[in-house]
């Protein structure tokens, strides 16, 4: 499984990517929307885990951009926020919507569910 983690908190995504790799998941990460779009263009990711609140490009916007490049990619939102807008947008745009902090087992389960 090859996935992309996108979050403006590098400390978070780098650790999460390493942890996923221990569990046999090929996880790459990006800390900006632009970087994420570039990596999506260059790699064949099956799934992306996106933060919703990011500078310049929000998670929702980023998802729409990714869909233009890779319409078959699965998206999971992972956010620290729980506003109504986020909840509605996340529920509508994605098969999964998770709130930080999340157990890695729960995240992996959601990924597998999304890719099933």
């Amino acid at each position: 499984m090859k996935i992309l983690l996108v979050d403006d908190e590098q400390e978070l995504v780098s650790a999460l990517a390493e942890r996923l790799s221990f569990r046999g998941i090929d996880a790459d990460f990006a800390v900006t929307g632009e970087e994420a779009l570039k990596k999506v263009g260059d790699n064949a990711y099956e799934l992306a885990v996106l933060d919703m609140k990011m500078p310049k490009i929000s998670g929702i916007k980023l998802k729409q951009e990714i869909m233009k490049i890779r319409p078959d990619m699965r998206i999971i939102f992972l956010t620290g926020h729980g506003s109504e807008e986020d909840f509605k947008a996340g529920s509508a745009e994605s098969s999964a919507y998770l709130v930080k902090p999340v157990k890695i087992e729960d995240l992996i389960a959601k990924m597998r569910e999304a890719l099933a």
């Binding site: 908190e9 942890r19 926020h81 709130v99 999340v102």
Partner: protein, 590 residues
Amino acid sequence: MSTPGKLRALLAKFRPAFWDQRAEEGPYKSLFNYQRTWRLSVGLLAAVALAPLCIMTAIDYNVSKRAISSENKLTMGRLTSNTRRSVAYFLDERRAALDFIVREETFAGLTRQDRLEDALKNLKSGFGGFLDLGLIDASGRQIAYVGPYSLLGRDYSGQDWFKNTLAQGHYISDVFLGFRNVPHMIIAIKKDLPDGSFYVLRTTLDTKPINDLLKSLDLSGIGDAFIINKDGALQTYSRYHGGLLEKVSLPVPEYSARTEVLEMKNKDGEGIFVGYAYIQGSPLILIVVKNAAELMKPWYDIRLELVWFLAASILVILLVILGVATYMVNKIYVADQTRAMTLHQVEHTNKMASIGRLAAGVAHEINNPLAIINEKAGLLRDLIVYKGQCEEGGRLVGLIDSVLGSVERCGAITKRLLGFARHIEVSIQPVKIQDVIEEVLSFLTKEAEYRSIRVDVDMPAPVPVFESDRGKLQQIFLNLINNAFQAMNDGGRLGIRIVMQGENRVTVSVSDDGCGIPAADLKRIFDPFFSTKTKKGGTGLGLSITYGLVQELGGTLRVESALGKGTTFYVSFPLKQDQRTVRRENSSGG
């Protein structure tokens, strides 16, 4: 219950809702002082309505009184005048009879005993009342006499009556008793003779016919009629104002050529009408007395009717004014309450939304560092577990798991905060009632632990998921459970029971074993601004808002309470929302 207690309870039943309204300060103060507005309305309406009525009644009262008084005086005057005429006629007739005798008979003829006896006999038979007849010559000596007394040869030249007769040509005396103690009076006539001399014909009259005449008058009740002389001595018998020839108990009225009627007080202080008339050609004054109370009796009857009419009118007007003023002020009160409630609800909603946004913001800010801790600690654990990079791996993994456990707890709290905040803004959605209650209870778990309050949630049968406003349900149960906590002592028990009522209704009861609510307060606890905790900062709006929220969801809220034993609130909701309610709620929510 004592009589004053019963009276207070009765008054409390009729007391309008606004009467005890005291919210005159603070952000939700009333626009009006209802009691003062009510008093002002009643006062003004009563003044405008009652003043003309009282003035008209007073005018009518006085006009009627004056009319009846005038009528009485007129009647009195007529009676007095007629009686005077009768008495005067009696005297004039007898004087005219004497005059006739002196004209018809010669002096020589009258000096004859037989002729004088014939004259007296004729007078007695023709007129009555004559007792004797005497002839007095110019020297004042009685030269002929017929009658029961021995008066022949008596010299009257020095007596006043003789002198008055010579001066006036005739004379009528006061009444006197004489030798036989019988009241009588004298009439005398002077006759001038052709030779320049004169004589006087004198007779004594019995006053019984006059007394009989006065006695025959219709003087109902305690009326009286009598004759006095100019010194006030009674010349006839009187029923109430003294004995014969005694001084009358009334003042002697001033001379008047006409009949007069006066209002005065008698010796006992009672009001009386006094009619009097001077009898011309005599020293006599006729007096008729009637009791004012008897004469004014028709007026008193009218006055009683007037008073009843006035009292009944005032009562009806006051009742109408009280009813109208109470109704109008109550309408204003209800409108004012609605305004205050609406303002409060708007403010409350805004406040909750602000709290929600704040909570969401805080949760978000905390969630990111928590996630970093989570991932870093997780990575540390993975490094130990997957790569075995530490000799004391087992102990470290235990410590890291402890950190991860704490992170999970913090995450649960922030997620709960986020969930609560999110539901404030959401309207109708599928709801599991037990989840809502557990969510609310989760905020109070610590307080329950600290205060050793036992919380029992009982749901004997499963309740299906139903459509409702989760945020409003949260507020309803948060208010009710918070109230229960405040009412309970430490170590109390809170019972929550969720039961189905038929197929389409769920009822949740929230019971506490706290202090209970007094019966007098029970019917007012849902009223806005009613609070027993005003000194402790209560606004008196919690249960009112709860009641409003339950109604908005198409539900019912009722309460049972026993003082000292506890209180139970029953909230009942339909499992299917009324579509009209839902639409209204959505549109009002913006």
